[in-house]
Amino acid sequence: MTDTSTTSEKGPQPILRARNVGKSFGGVHALRDVSIDVYAGEVHAIVGENGAGKSTFGKILGGAIPADSGSFELDGRTVTICNPIDAQQLGITIIFQELDLFPNLSVAENIAIRNLAYSDRLLVNRKRMAEFCLPMLKRVGLDVDPGTMLGDLHLGHQQLVAIARALSMNARVIVFDESTSSLSDEFVENLFQVIDLLRSEGIACIFISHKMEELFRISDRVTVLRDGEYVGSRPASELPQDELIGMMVGRKVSEQTRAESHAAGEVLFECTGLRTRRLHDISFTLHRGEVMGLAGLIGAGRGELGKALFGLTRIVGGQMSLESRPYLPRSPRHAIELGVGLVPRDRKTEGLMMQMSVRDNTTLASLSDLNALGLIRQREESTVVERVGTQTRLRASGAHAEVSSLSGGNQQKVLLGRWLLVEPKVYFFDDPTRGVDIGAKHDIYDLIEQQAARGKGVLFVSSELPELLRCCDRILVLNQGKQVALLQSDATSAEEILRYATSQASQAVAS
């Protein structure tokens, strides 16, 4: 397993060298001949479009899948990584894009589980386990009782638990695969402080993300992958954003500014004094063609609002109306019938049927349009799927490809495609750009604008404020389930929104 090789002449020794790594799935080359050096104490960003092979590289490093070809050196010694345990023993840990946690175990158990695996102890000592976890939780800035069931935590907090677990492993190389995609800004900042700390401790962080600001904020070096191939590595400080995007996409993407507003005077949807178990007194009107942003910290209640609109949570008080008619959905099915569509945040659990094809997933919510006496009009279906695929610039091997074989971003596009076909009057997009590459993000912005231009009303949740400022006419800020501001987006700023989102003023009213 070990084999000493000659030391290179100059510069510091890379802690990890990947040499000519290749991997293909069936006919698809996910990685071709990729060589990357990672140094101790650096934050090394890996970027690229959806499907470029970033996660595949991370998974190979973490031992989740084997490489087809290529080799790895750790501290100059050739090593083999066949499974997650190999990787962990070599000090490589990956925090997956899809969380690999145990919802029915406590936070402490989730963090300590790998250490249990290495201990030769028979009995579990709860107290010691808590003592073991608390520093890790502190390092990631998560303040919860270690005895809490993980499943009771918000997704963003679960992400932090995953990071805490990685920290507990004494890893020397940590791969963060889109760890920030489900985090709101405050948690991102928190995470970056953690990463800064790790960097100063000489730990190498491989950071995969689609968020440009984050990349430039945190990374020392950037490696670009395109279509599974290595494009190049550059110090982050010497790389202008335009050029980076050019390297990723192979073309120029014009960073458009604020989209045209399509908001008309006519009220489409109205919500007065809406209350649920976690929402208090939400009131707003949504006009035809209007895009309204929803801002707030994690747990502020944006998702809860979506659930209320979609018949997924019990409405305790207040009224809603759609096109001046009372609107009270009993279930998502009913909501769709009445003309409201929700694109869920978590595509894996709430969105897609992973074992079904692109075609089946795309038309699933609009099969009634293809229905002829119960039978599906197959030819028409193929046409429709093709059209939507083009519209969303989906990259897949075909309409029959299983969704589980697509990259994260392309999965997101399938989900969007499904809802484009439903054509509701009001859209609720819950973080639609999560895990989507920069090019595709703009495609999604365009899609949203198109819907607005067609007279739809759009509610748009995002944890990225620039995105909200770019796309929305107005921005509704939620804070602990209460509506704290309704801002005109061309008359506000990220700072103002953040101030409302984080203000403690409302707390007194809350309790």
Partner: protein, 321 residues
């Protein structure tokens, strides 16, 4: 072409498995001492084999849908007996016509299925539990209804005789299965309903978010399975000229074995009707050849266990590779 092969790998390899066992059966079959014919291949034997497996195979069609939604139905054996007894009572004691008796029996099966489906959909209790309960309860009901007796048709008058003479014919029993298999294959692959069945088994939560009529789909698959169990009961009643309240004990396991050997995953979302038909044939040939070779009953059980595992392992290596 290549993508066709890839997409239908499970089926192609299932068929290969069927072919293997078919050839093995021919090689292992005893021959007629006088005419040197291979007994297994005699038309009479093959049709006997198909007829005897028809009731289980018919129920397996519905069970495939149930399992595809991520559910399970343990009550089909009891339902079979229930409907067999209802049909027999209808003909021999309630003096119904053939058509009315059959209709009543099949609807009785549908009612059990409807109850199962409704309880599962509305109470949101695990299908294993609901159908376990109805497996127990329906057995009690059936014995109570029949007064703990076998209801005999042979001596129950002309209508009854016409009933069993018609329905126990090979062409009828095998034909019904073939017809239903075609209908269910279309139902699963060509209809909106079929798409929903798969979607539900693949990801129940996402099905809610996609606005699918989940409750209706659940109720429908259990009701269909109940109706098929009812039909199987009618056929069993005709075939045995008896409504036996103890028919179909442990039949649910045979049915599930057929579906699973046919490549349908108990986790839901993956599987096909063609697979189930192949599974039914594999089991039918297996049982038939063991019988023809006159393997002892206990040894048969042991061999059956081994072959189920082997069949499913072959299935599995396929899907994982």
């Amino acid at each position: 072409m290549k993508s066709f092969v890839l997409r239908n790998r499970t089926l192609i390899q299932s068929s290969a498995g069927l072919l293997v066992i078919f050839v093995a059966a021919i090689l292992l079959s005893p021959t007629d001492l006088r005419t040197d014919e291979v007994l297994f291949l005699k038309a009479d034997n093959l049709t006997n084999m198909l007829r005897v497996s028809a009731p289980v195979a018919i129920i397996a069609l519905g069970m495939t849908l149930v399992i595809l939604t991520g559910g399970i139905d343990l009550s089909v054996g009891s339902t079979l007996a229930f409907c067999s007894v209802v049909a027999a009572l209808g003909l021999s004691e309630w003096n119904l016509g053939i058509f009315a008796a059959i209709l009543l029996a099949i609807l009785a099966g549908g009612a059990v299925g409807l109850l199962n489906g409704s309880l599962i959909a509305w109470l949101k209790v695990q299908p294993f539990v609901i159908t376990l309960a109805s497996m127990i309860g329906v057995r009690g009901l059936t014995r109570w209804l029949s007064n703990n007796q076998n209801i005999q048709l042979r001596t129950a008058g002309e209508v009854a005789v016409r009933f069993f003479e018609f329905f126990s014919q090979k062409t009828v029993m095998i034909g019904l299965f073939v017809l239903l298999a075609a209908v269910f294959a279309l139902l699963l692959s060509g209809t909106v309903f079929g798409r929903y069945v798969r979607a539900l088994g693949d990801n129940a939560k996402a099905s809610v978010y996609a606005g699918l009529p989940i409750k209706r789909v659940q109720i429908a698959v259990y009701t269909l399975t109940g109706l098929l169990a009812g039909l199987a009961g009618v056929l069993t009643c005709a075939r045995t000229t008896t409504g036996n309240p103890n028919d179909g004990i442990a039949a649910e396991l045979d049915v599930i074995a057929v579906v699973v050997i046919g490549g349908t995953s108990l986790a839901g979302g993956r599987g096909s009707i063609v697979g189930t038909v192949i599974g039914a044939l594999i089991i039918a040939i297996l049982v038939n050849i063991l019988g023809l070779r006159n393997v002892g009953a206990n040894e048969q059980l042991m061999l059956k266990a081994v072959i189920i595992v082997v069949a499913v392992v072959m299935q599995h290596q396929r899907t994982s590779s």
